[in-house]
Symmetry: D2
Subunit: 411 residues, 4 copies
C-alpha cells in the first residue's frame, strides 16, 4: 500500500509519541485522511506514565487511545518461558512476543473504531514490519496495512530526523531531535532490546549498554540472594511464598533478578528477511523464572519428552520471531508443550549472585522421575546391577553387527 491507496480510508496509526509518530500522523492528516492513533500499554519499564503518549500526540490533532495489553503480555511471557522458546544466541524474543499481543490488542481496538487501514512506523529493513503485516492480515483480513517507511514518497520527504522536526515545526508541533543516542531500545514487560548505532559495530563491547531493568554484575550486591519459586502446570504461582499473578510475577522477577545482574545476552541474530542484526538484551525476569522451571522439568521429563520439548521450543521461537504466533504450526507445538509441562509442579530455590544463578534446592516435585535409590551408584535398593548385564548383552549384539559390517573400521 502506498499513500495514494489510502484515499477516503479511515486510518489507525500505531504511535509511540516520538518524532516519527508525530510526523506520520501529521503527514496523513495533511493528506486529508481520517486518522486515529493507538498505543499499547505493554508495561514498558522505560515509560513512566503510559498516558504521556496521549499528551505528546495531542498537538497533532488526532485522538489517541491507549490499549491495555499488560495481562496479555504477562501471559505470553509465561508461554514463552514454559516452552524455553529463546531465539538465536539465547535471546528471549522479547520484541517478537510483544508484537503478537500488541497487534492483536490494537487491531481489535481499531476494528471497534471502524479503522480500515493500520499504519505502523516500523522501518522497511527490520522484523517488525513483517510482524505487523502478518498479524494484521491474519487477525483482520479486511484491514489494509500501510508502512510509511517503505513508501518511497515519505522516505524521500523525510530522509532523517532533522527533516521531520522541520516539518512539524511548520505546524508548531513540539519536536525534539535529541542527542544522537549510542543505541536504540525497544521495551516491554518481557525485556529490552538494545540495537543499532554504536552497537552495530562488532568492535563495540556489550558493556556500553546502560541497563534499564537492572544492573551489570559488577554493580550487584556482593552476597547471594535466595529466591523461592513454586510452579503449577509450568507456571510460576508464588515468589518467596507470596501468591502472584503472571503480571505480578514478571514484575517481581524483573526486580529481583535485575538487581542481581542477571539479564545479559549479546547476540547476532538472523532477521526474517535474511540479514543479521546485533542486539544486547535484558530479560531478567524471564531468565529467573525460566531457571526455576528448567530445574523442575529436568526432574519430570523423561529423555524422549525432553528431546521433544527442546524441538518444540525451538520451533515456537522461530515461528514467533517470524510473526507466526497464531499459526496452526505454533498452536500445535504449544499443544505439545502444554502436555509436556502439565505436571511441572513444585518448589525451587535459586541463589542469585552477580549475574549467576545457582541451584539451591528443589522440593515437592510430585511428578519427579528422580529416584535416589535407582540413581545411587552404591545403594542396595533400586535398580539391580545384575539386570544391567542383560542390557549390556543386548547392546553388544547390535554392536557386534555394526562391527561385522565394518562400521568401525576407520576409528
Amino acid at each position: 500500500m502506498l499513500l495514494k491507496d489510502l484515499k477516503g480510508k479511515k486510518i489507525g496509526i500505531c504511535v509511540s509519541g516520538g518524532l516519527d509518530s508525530k510526523t506520520v500522523t501529521k503527514r496523513l492528516m495533511e493528506e486529508g485522511l481520517d486518522v486515529i492513533c493507538f498505543s499499547a500499554d505493554l508495561a514498558q519499564p522505560d515509560e513512566k506514565d503510559i498516558n504521556d503518549i496521549i499528551t505528546k500526540m495531542e498537538p497533532c490533532g488526532a485522538p489517541t487511545y491507549i490499549v491495555d495489553v499488560k495481562d496479555d503480555m504477562a501471559e505470553i511471557c509465561y508461554e514463552t518461558i514454559k516452552a524455553s522458546a529463546t531465539y538465536d544466541g539465547g535471546y528471549w524474543n522479547t520484541t517478537g512476543i510483544a508484537r503478537a499481543v500488541t497487534v492483536r490488542g490494537i487491531v481489535r481496538a481499531m476494528q471497534e473504531h471502524g479503522v480500515e487501514v493500520l499504519c505502523h512506523g516500523a522501518t522497511g529493513r527490520g522484523n517488525d514490519q513483517m510482524r505487523f503485516e502478518r498479524y494484521t492480515r491474519a487477525l483482520a483480513p479486511e484491514m489494509g496495512v500501510y508502512a510509511p517507511w517503505r513508501d518511497p514518497e515519505l522516505l524521500e520527504q523525510f530522509p532523517g530526523r532533522t527533516e521531520m522536526a522541520d516539518y512539524l515545526a511548520q505546524f508548531d508541533i513540539p519536536a525534539v531531535i535529541g542527542m544522537k543516542k549510542k543505541y536504540s531500545t525497544d521495551a516491554n514487560l518481557a525485556g529490552l532490546s538494545h540495537e543499532a548505532e554504536d552497537l552495530e559495530e562488532l568492535e563495540t563491547s556489550c558493556l556500553i549498554v546502560e541497563p534499564t531493568m537492572g544492573v551489570w554484575p559488577a554493580d550487584a550486591p556482593d552476597k547471594i540472594e535466595n529466591v523461592t519459586l513454586t510452579f503449577q502446570h509450568g507456571y510460576c504461582t508464588t515468589i518467596n511464598g507470596e501468591k502472584v499473578s503472571p503480571l505480578q510475577a514478571m514484575e517481581k522477577a524483573n526486580e529481583i533478578a535485575g538487581r542481581n545482574g542477571v539479564w545479559m545476552k549479546n547476540a547476532l541474530e538472523n532477521r526474517i528477511i535474511g540479514t543479521k542484526s546485533r542486539g544486547v538484551y535484558e530479560a531478567p525476569g524471564m531468565v529467573l523464572l525460566h531457571a526455576g522451571l528448567e530445574n523442575i522439568l529436568q526432574a519430570t521429563l523423561d529423555r524422549n519428552s525432553f528431546s521433544l520439548y527442546k524441538q518444540m521450543g525451538d520451533l515456537i521461537s522461530n515461528l514467533v520471531y517470524d510473526g507466526r504466533y497464531y499459526d496452526k504450526s505454533c498452536q500445535a507445538a504449544r499443544a505439545a508443550i502444554d502436555t509436556l509441562t502439565e505436571s511441572a509442579e513444585g518448589e525451587v530455590t535459586l541463589g542469585l549472585y552477580k549475574g549467576n544463578v545457582f541451584f539451591q534446592s528443589m522440593t515437592d516435585i510430585y511428578a519427579s522421575l528422580y529416584n535416589e535409590a535407582d540413581s545411587s551408584m552404591e545403594a542396595s535398593d533400586g535398580l539391580n546391577p545384575a539386570s544391567s548385564q542383560g542390557f549390556a548383552d543386548i547392546i553388544s549384539v547390535e554392536t557386534a553387527a555394526l562391527a561385522k559390517a565394518g562400521q568401525f573400521d576407520d576409528c
Copy 2:
C-alpha cells in the same frame, strides 16, 4: 560375562589405583587369572602424577601400564566444542567424551598385550558400564568384557568398602577406606563431574562442591579479565596472541576461566538406562572456548545452517552420551558440523567476571554474513526499504489464504 567365564583368559583391567581397582585386581589374580592393569592419562586435573597409579597398584602384583591419551582427549574436547554438543541441562558431557578416547586407547594397548577380556570397574547402575561395553565391542569385537560390579558373586563378596579393605589386608596390600566423602568426582582434561552421596538429595545446594579447576564466582577477582581467542575452521588456535595446540588451549582455557569462576552447571540428567542422575559439573575451558566460537558462528551461519547446526550438536551429544561416538550416525553428524564450521575463522575478545562471560569485540571474521549497511535501520545504503513492500505483499497472500481457511478464528 561372569567370573566363571574368565577361566584361562588373559585379562586386562582398567584401574585407577583406588580401593576398587586393587580389590578387583587381587581377586582376579587369586582366581588364578593372567592379569595386566591399564590406566589412561587423560590430563586429569585431580591427579598430581599419573605414575602414582603404578605405585599404588604395585602391591597387587600385576604390572600396570599408563596409556597416554592426552592429545586424543584434547581433540575430542575440540570436536565437542565445535559441535556445541552439550547434554541435558548444558552439561558438557565430559565423562562421556572421555570414555570414547579412554576405551579406544586402552583397548589398543590391551590388544598389543594379547588381552582377551577387558575388565572395568564401572558400577552396574550407571552410564560408564554401557560405554565400556559398546566401545570395547565396537573396536575389538573379539574381546570380552567383564564387569565385576554386575557379577552377583563379587557383589555379594564385597558389599562395601570395609569388606574390600579387609580383603586386601589379608594380603598386606595397603588400603585406605577414607572418610566418607560428600560426593564423588570423575575428572579429565575436559572437566569434572561431581555426583552421588550428599548431591543425590535435591535439597542439597550445588554450592557444597569445592571446585577443583577454579573457584566459585564469589572467590574470583572483582575485575574483568579480557581474553582474546582466534579460531580457524572452528578450532581455537591462539589464546591472547599465543599459538596453542589443542592440549595447550584446553589447559590454558581451564586456567583462565577457572580463576574467574566460569564453570558451573547443576543438572539432573537422563542416564542411558532410563534413570535420572544429579550432577554438578566443572568445565571452565570448554565454556570459554565455546563462548568464543559461538560468537563467530553467529556471524557466519545463516538461519538454515544455524538450525541444522543445533540439531546436529544435539544429536552428537546424545550419541556420545550413549557410547556411540564412533557410530555412523555420529560420524555423519560430525561431517555436517565440519562443513558448517569450516569457515569459522576470526578473533573474539571476551571479558570474564565472576562467572560471567561478556562479549567485548570480534574482528577478522572473513566469512561473516553480518553487513552493517543492510542491518542498519537508518542507513541509506544496503537493503532497499521499498523492496520490503513486495516481500510483505507476498507474505500477505499466504496469510490471507490462512485467514480465509479459518486458521486464526480462535485467536
Copy 3:
C-alpha cells in the same frame, strides 16, 4: 521374573489357543499355580470365531476370558492414520499399535480378576516381549510380568514344538504340531505381519506370501474402482456415502482396498533391541484411508505445519514401536497432531487399480489453503507478479551476503 518367583501368585496368561499357549498354561498349572487365561478380540481377519480360543484352551483346565478391544483397535488405527505414523520402510506398525490396546484391555480384565502376574508367550528375541513388559508396568505397576520364553528353565524343557506336543500328550490335551509354515503371521484389524522362516532369507521374494486380507495386484480386477471418502477432524466418517464408525470404516476399507491389491510392504526394520527383522505387511484399509486423508492435508497444511506434521508422525511411530504409546512424549506429539488435523475435512475420491491408488477429485475442503487464482501462472487475479520483484530483491540481499562470505566459492 522366573518360574520360582511365581509361587503363590495368581497368574493371568495371554493365550492364542495355539501349541505355545496350551503348553505354558498346563506347565504353570502343574506348578500348582492359580491360572486364568485371557485373549483379546482384535477383529483378527484370520480368526473365524474368536470363541474358538475358549474351546481350544478348555482341555488345559483353566478358564479363558475373551476381552473385546475391537473398538479400541479401530480407534488406534484412526490415530495412526491421522498421524501418518508409519515405521521403517512404510510399515504401518500394525503389530505395535495392537499391543498398546491389547495389553491395556487384558491388564484391566486381569485386575478385575485379581491377577498378580501377567504371563505372555512372546519370544525373548522380538519386540513384543518389550511391549508387554512396558505396557503392563505402566498401566499396572503392581503387577509382575513373566515371560516363559526368556526363562532358561522352560527354554530347556521345551526346545521345540515336538517337545511341547509330547508334554501335552501326557495330559491328553490335543496338540497339532502342524506342517512347517513358510512364514508366521500376526493379525489384527489393522493388518497382517508376515515374518520368519523362509522370509528370513533376503533371497526370498515377497511374492511367496499368500495375502489374507486381499489379493496380489495381478489377481485384482482389470478395472478402476472408485471410492469416495469424507473426513472430519482427520477421521473418515463416510465411505461411498455411507456413514461409518471407525470399526466399520476399517472393515470396509480393508475389503475395498484388499480386493484391488492395495496393501503390500516389504521392509527390513530395526527392532527395539537393535537387531533387524524382515517382514511383509498387509494393511489395505490403513493405506486407503490414509491416501484419502493425505490429499486433504496437502490442501489444509501450510509448509511449517506440514513439516511439523511429518516430524510428529515419525516420532509417534517410533514411540509406538517401542511400546511407548501412553508416554508423555507420545501424548504430546498426538496433541500436536490433533491441532494440525482438526480442520482436515472434506471429500476425496480415489481410483484403485491393481495396487495403485489414483487421485480422482477432492471437494468441500473448507479449510483449504489452495487458491486457484493465486496458484495460477497466468490468471490476472490473485498474487501480483510485481510484488515478487520485492520478494526477489530481499532474497538477493541475503544471497549477496552469502556470496561475499565465500560460501559458494566451490560450487
Copy 4:
C-alpha cells in the same frame, strides 16, 4: 530490475524456443540491447533435437547457444536419489533440481560471453523465478537478473499469447499460439511436471495426463518384469548386469520403469512464496533407482542412522526446492548423507508390474546389519533370550518411575 535498468547492458536470455522466448528476445532487441540467447540441454524427454531451439530462435536475430548439462543433470539425480530427497507428497523435485544445474551451466556460459544481466522467462507467481534469482546471485554476484514477467511494462504490453503472436508477426517471426493445452509441462532427464490449466481444478482427475516417459498402469504389460540393480557408495553402477554411467542409468531406468507404469505422483505442494500448487509428476527412473537403494539402506543403516538419514533428506529437499542447493546447510546435509551411504553396496532385484514395485531379492550387501541368527525368533544361535530379561528389567525401572510419577494416570 526493470526494463529501464537494462540500458547499455549485455543481456543473456534463457530461452526454450517458444512464444514467450521469442517475444522477450525480440522485445529486448527492439530496446536496442545487446542480446545473446542460451538454452540448456537437460536431456529433456519431450525435446526431439535440442538444436531445434537454435532454429526456432533464429528469426529473432540473436545468436543462441546450447549449454550441455546432461551429465550434471544425471549427477544431481543421483544425489537426490541417494538422499531420498522428495518434496511434499513424494514429488521428486524434478524441476527444482534441474534449476540448480541449469542456472549454473548457463551462468558460466554467460560469463564467458561477457553477459551482465541474466534474463529469464519464469512467471512472477511461481518457484522458478526465485530459483533463477538465487542461483544467479549466488554463483555470479556481479550479474543482474531481469524477469520480464514481473515487469509491469511487459506485463501490460503482453497480457496474453495473442498479443505476443501479433507482436512477432510485425517482424515476420513465425509464432504459433497453438491449441489451448489441458496442462503445461516442464521436462528434463529426471522427470516431468504437469501443472496449470485443467489440472488447477481439484475436481480434475490426475488421469487426464498423457504420460510422456511411460504409460499408465492399465497400459503396461500384464506380466512382472524383473530388473537387477547394483549399487556402490549409494550410486547405481549396473542395470541388469550392464555397467552404466549416471546418464545411462537414468535413461535406462526411465525406459524400464516407464513402460511398466511406475511413475505417478499427484501432489498439492507448498510453493516458495506461500501459495499451493497442484501437479502431476512423472519420474519413473528416479522411483526405480530409489526403490533399489532403499532396500540396501534398510539393511545397512542402524536406527539412529536411519532417523538422521530421513531428516537430512527432508532438509535437502526443502533447500533444493527453495533454490538453495549450493547453500552451506545443503552442503552440510549432503556431507552427512555421503557418510551414511558410503557403504550402501550390493545387488537388488525388483519386480515391476503395472505401477507396482516388488522386492524380489537382495545379495552381496557386505555392510548389512541383518543377521538371520539374531533376527530369528526360533533359532538357537544368536541373541540369547535370557539376556532380554535383564533388558526388560532395566526398562521396567524407568517405566516404574514414570508410573509412580502419575504419567499413565489417564490412560
